[in-house]
Amino acid sequence: MRTIPGGCAAAVLLWTIAAASGEEVQKQSFWSQWAPPEVHGFWEARGGYRLQNDRYQKDMSVMETRFQLDLFTYTDWAEFKYKGDVFGDWVQEKGRYQTRETWMFFRPSDTMDVKLGRQVLTWGTGDLLFINDLFPKDWQSFFIGRDSEYLKAPSDAVKVSFFHDLANLDIVYTPQFDSDQFIRGEGISYWNSNLGRTAGEDVHIHTDKPDRWFRDDEVALRLYKNINNYEFALYGYHGFWKSPAGQNAAGLATFPDLNVYGASVRGQVGKGIGNAEIGYYQSRDDENGDDPMTANSEMRYLLGYTQEIGTDFTAGMQYYVEQMLDYDAYKQSPGMTRDEFRHVLTLRLTKLLMNQNLTLSFFGYYSPSDKDAYLRPNVHYKASDRWSMEMGSNIFFGDYRNTFFGQFRDNTNLYAAIRYSF
């Protein structure tokens, strides 16, 4: 194997393999089974500023230069991947490293796949709305204008998939709870209900996070089948609310126990693609809804439709509802301001120009019940096969400071980035 930058990653891969193969292999044959590693990645510079003053934050919303290294190799029996980012973050004033992926994948039989290690996981039918996708999200990256790749945070998990004519089954086991990168006041201000005001760097949210290996674990299941290219799926999840949904006596934010049961379907409807998804969020620490310090159970519903409306021009709309269950019990506690129903409409427009090298896109969330909105316009240009640049904005509106998007209105920002890929 050649010496490559990121030798430690390679070492991790090798170690994984050696452990997995579990046998003494002669040096010669060990090396010769490997395909030459594929080395890729990018370098990127990204900067953004708030378009208004936020008394709890810097004017810079994002300011970083980032290097991503992506290594891949395989043998006859498995595939290995490493992807990691090193970046200098001028907003937080520190150098940072994140392993995005380190996994091995193998097919032990014709009817089974296994992927083991740190990996990004996605399922479900929503477009930037998630009901049955309980894998961790990085909302901080999303709101400050990092590449959309970073919305999905990795899981340290094993995914085992079984394939059968009747249906396919995915099982994802995460031995230690992976929460969202939720908004905690770092870089983005939020509504602090304890203080009854907006807070930011002055008051970070501190959590009591479940973190015991193999006890505070998560299991996610998907049973799915394609019938004439209509994709049907049933889902189950056993774990925790992914972002804080409660508070303990010490005033720490908590991740209460959560089960989710859901279903979805996606397929051609008319000229476009339609999707529907539903989920029952069973908040197991507050099944009756009478504990004001723990989120109530919810029903979540989604309907979506996407269609091409012109040459290289696509439009998609979604209607999403969160319904709080046991709302009467919730209302009996003082100071409770949430509505029973939260309605959200989304619109996505994507237009490709200049031989598909220029992408104009818009994504907007609008909630008529919360009277708030979040708009994400973006212009992306591929100057060459290697150089690309983009510019975009995260725009928050809200009549109230305590609604989901309204609390972020001082975070409205404009960003630009340039990237070299190899």
């Binding site: 992927k115 790749e149 476009g272 040459t311 890929s421």
Partner: protein, 277 residues
Amino acid sequence: MKALVCWLTVLLTAGLAALPAAAQEAEAVPSVDEIVQRANHMAYYQGLDGKSAVLMKITDKNGNVRTREFIILRKNGDGGNQKYFVYFLQPPDVRRMVFMVHKFAALDKDDDRWLYLPSLDLVNRIAASDKRTSFVGSDFLYEDVSGRSLEEDVHELTQVTEERFLIKNTPKNPASVEFSYFTVEIDRKTYMPMKMEYFDKSGTLYRVIEAKKVEPISAKEGDRQVEYLTVTESVVKDLKTGSTTEMKFSNVQYNLGLNDDLFTERYLRRPPREAMR
């Protein structure tokens, strides 16, 4: 017939065979329907399945070059239906993305298309129904690559030379396409579509596709050793934009025995070995 159009895609398809009779048939002129059907077969349906590495070079009018490199798998189904699996290698920003198509021959049924984005582990359904849009930003259109149903056009044999048939293809539904008609030159011996010319609504030639290199590819048909003639180099020129795309096929293989399962979500998320090397 427009299907012929696509000889580019040829590689993907295969099947025909037929060649012993070619010498004889060169004498008589078959019906136009037979010509276009055989040409369509040559361009898109040879073999039971096929595989090729594809290198695209897109050169704009200013001489800027962009490349696309991918591996494409194709499997024939019943009644002209086909499945495609496209695994991207270059450029870096699309590397490892997978584009999967279930193509339906019936005019009233849209193809089903999926795109897998590995960095998000996201399986997207593509809503695009317009087949006359650019394929991966090149001058080839989606329809050039996947084929155009013979039912879409009226075919006329307008000229027979010593070497070629010239077919004029006029769309039955002119509003559905950007051309008023297109012509195809088909080799009389092999039935390979060799050149296509597209004329706009004012009758001006604006787009030319040409097969630059045709090679016999050996394959097994059961126990029998056969050769499939395959276009391994083609070029499309857009005379309006001044842009040109060259497409080269390498490592072309037929009748690999690809399983239908390869064209499902399982392999979309983790591509099969066949697609990756």
